[in-house]
């Protein structure tokens, strides 16, 4: 059963299409993230689910009910904003109680639920304070408590951690995820931070120009991106322009060669057969920096010259210029030997550590 369902939802402003024919479903208790660069339509999509914006086309269902024309205050969603949007003139407890009050829940019943909600976000001791007396992270936890205390059909979060520093953001990612799982609440989360999307979500919808480019589980999104945009937005990817020369055994693997240097051939293991490649297809070969190794130990190889090395603690990121003049990034565990800057070497990777992507222009 799907808790939230969008069918062919579009939103246009004047002549600009902010959201373009988006269809997706979020199952009960699931955590879905809308991920994309700014202006991709993710916030517009969320605001349409909350009811702050009307879609210009399409239908939105919550719990199977068509809510497209239902006003925002009757949709029973709980929203967390990037700016926290706490009521500055009310105490923390009054902020959390507000939604209950609007539902006619008052007195002891409300007090108990407010206390419970504040306990879930570990802010019981702050109940009597005013929002401005709390830190940013605490304020956002109050906002989270305020959104979940009404037990909404769906929890909506619009870049809730966008204005917090990295350390706090990571703590709150864990806390938001655990609160969501503890309460078994359906959640839709908007972010432009791919790390946040991958670590928190059950499923991620990568959006660009108002469209969903790929909707998948985080690990599949990372290991099997459907196009170069997703591959580059979610993690880093080395891309080489290639042409398919041979396909083996019912799309299980194929041989490709560089379109720039036809004598450079690579093998690719195809994990899923949702796209049938044929000899002569021009496409992109992609592999992740951590799947490439220095030296010629793996089957696919290309010559390269070291351009720059950056240190990241657990790994070093080596930037190279490959034999075709393009750029390559390789992550090498710290401690492993690294050739000096300007030195020539070889990069290699395994057939099952890479993937094929369609060309953007095709």
């Amino acid at each position: 059963m799907s808790e939230v369902r969008l069918e062919h939802v579009s939103r246009t402003y004047d002549r600009v299409t902010a959201v373009d024919d988006v269809s997706l479903t979020v199952a009960e208790g699931q955590f879905l993230t809308l991920l994309g660069p700014s202006g991709c339509g993710k916030t517009t999509t969320l605001r349409m689910i909350a009811g702050f914006l009307q879609p210009t086309a399409g239908t939105i269902y919550i719990k199977g009910e068509d809510v497209t024309r239902v006003s925002a205050n009757r949709r029973d969603t709980g929203m967390v904003f990037q700016t926290y949007a706490l009521f500055p003139h009310m105490s923390v407890a009054a902020n959390v109680a507000f939604g209950l009050k609007m539902r006619g829940i008052r007195g002891e019943a409300a007090a108990v639920r407010v206390r419970d909600a504040l306990r879930v976000v570990q802010l019981e001791s702050m109940a009597d304070r005013l929002p401005r007396q709390l830190s940013g992270g605490q304020q956002q936890r109050v906002a989270l408590a305020r959104a979940v205390v009404i037990r909404p059909q769906v929890l909506l979060m619009d870049e809730p951690l966008g204005s917090l520093d990295l350390k706090l953001r990571q703590e709150l990612q864990i806390q938001i995820r655990s609160v969501q799982q503890e309460l078994g609440i359906t959640a839709i989360y908007v972010t432009h931070d791919q790390g946040e999307a991958l670590s928190m979500s059950d499923r991620v919808a990568v959006m660009r120009n108002g469209r969903v480019e790929q909707l998948d589980q985080p690990d599949r999104l990372y290991s099997r991106p459907v196009n170069a945009f997703v591959a580059n937005f979610v993690g880093r990817t080395n891309l080489l322009a290639v042409e398919v020369i041979e396909v083996f055994a019912a799309q299980s693997s194929c041989k490709v060669r560089s379109t720039d240097a036809p004598d450079l051939a690579f093998s690719v293991a195809i994990a899923d057969a949702d796209r049938a490649w044929r000899p002569g297809d021009r496409c992109l070969l992609g592999f992740r920096p951590e799947n490439g190794v220095l030296g010629s130990t793996a089957e696919n190889r290309i010559g390269a010259r070291v351009r720059d090395v950056r240190y990241f603690g657990a790994t070093r990121s080596v930037a190279l210029t490959n034999a075709l003049g393009g750029s390559l990034d390789i992550d090498v565990p710290s401690g492993n030997p690294i050739p000096a800057r300007g030195e020539s070497t070889e990069i290699s990777w395994r057939p099952n550590g890479c993937f094929l992507l369609p060309r953007e222009d095709s």
Binding site: A72, A85, H89, A94, R129, R146
Partner: protein
């Protein structure tokens, strides 16, 4: 409502006493001396053009009336006693307050929707609309009031409209009386109320309103429980300006009151220009000033408490 918020504030972190602007307390470098030196001309100018006349005025109020246009330099509180014990004079003071509160109320009620709209609109014409709001201030008070006379007269547009709509049976007296003064003054000071409210409403994060609606608040509940309490500093500021301008305004009461409306300003003018009782005129002026200062202090205290 905000009182409730202040209640639980005996906290170790930050009480309302330091006005809640925590971030700005870090920069406490002393201002360079040259700013003090540069303000000297203004300070001296004010002392000469403002402080000195007020001192003379206050002195006059403490002297005895000694025939038309003269005071005897014997210090006495008789003028104040005379004012504060005579119901006729107290009535004038009360009428002045009533005028002030009526004008404030009208400006607040009629100005609020305009202020809210101007604060939230993203229209390209916003600048133009703000100009239109401010426009009455660009017209001389005399011209503005002259414009009201034909509108409010017995055969004026307003009465014509009221008769047409069947709201009244015969023309209502709207000018040369208290009503005319209220209308004319409200018009004149409306821009101040709108601008004060607009600035404060603009600072209310629109997402706060969305949060309220998201939690189930109707537009009505959103307004009374969220927007209105948060805009009280704007109302206080608007009240302060509108009230003090109104109780000290002279041109409009004189022109639209038709010599029949006796409030402090018109009464002071009578005393000084026609009765030539400078001592009593000065007394009334000092009392009016004291009231205005007291109200200012109260309003400023209130808005400081709200941070």
């Amino acid at each position: 409502m905000a009182q409730a918020g202040v209640k639980g504030s005996e906290l170790p972190i930050r009480g309302p006493a330091d006005s809640g602007q925590g971030a700005s307390t870090e920069r406490s470098e002393p201002l360079p001396i040259r700013w003090g030196v540069l303000s000297l001309p203004a300070v001296l100018g004010l002392l000469f053009a403002f402080g000195l006349p007020i001192a003379l005025l206050t002195a006059n109020s403490l002297f005895r009336h000694a025939g038309p246009g003269r005071v005897a330099p014997t210090v006495t509180l008789d003028n104040y006693v005379a004012f504060l014990t005579d119901p006729f004079f107290l009535r004038i003071l009360l009428d002045t307050f009533v005028l002030g509160f009526m004008v404030v109320s009208i400006c607040a009620i009629l100005g609020y929707p305009v202020a809210y709209f101007l604060a939230r609109t993203r229209s390209r014409c916003r600048g133009m609309m703000i100009f239109l709001v401010v426009a009455p201030l660009l017209v001389s008070a005399v011209i503005r009031n002259l414009g009201w006379v034909p509108l409010l007269g017995t055969n004026g547009f307003v009465n014509w409209l009221l008769l047409l709509l069947g709201l009244v049976d015969r023309p209502v007296a709207l000018v040369n009386n208290f009503v005319g003064v209220v209308i004319g003054t409200s018009h004149a000071v409306m821009p101040f109320m709108i601008l004060m409210l607009m600035t404060v409403i603009q600072r209310i994060n629109p997402e706060i309103e969305e949060a309220a609606v998201n939690l189930g608040a109707s537009q009505w509940q959103n307004f009374w429980q969220i927007v209105f309490p948060l805009s009280i500093p704007g109302l206080l500021g608007g009240y302060l300006i509108v009230f003090t301008i109104t109780i000290s305004s002279f041109t409009t009461p004189a022109m639209l009151g038709g010599n029949r409306v006796l409030i402090m300003s018109t009464f002071i003018s009578q005393q000084v220009r026609f009765v030539l009782n400078y001592a009593f005129g000065a007394t009334c002026a000092v009392i009016l000033m004291a009231v205005a200062i007291a109200l200012t202090v109260v309003a400023v205290r209130q808005s400081e408490r709200r941070g």
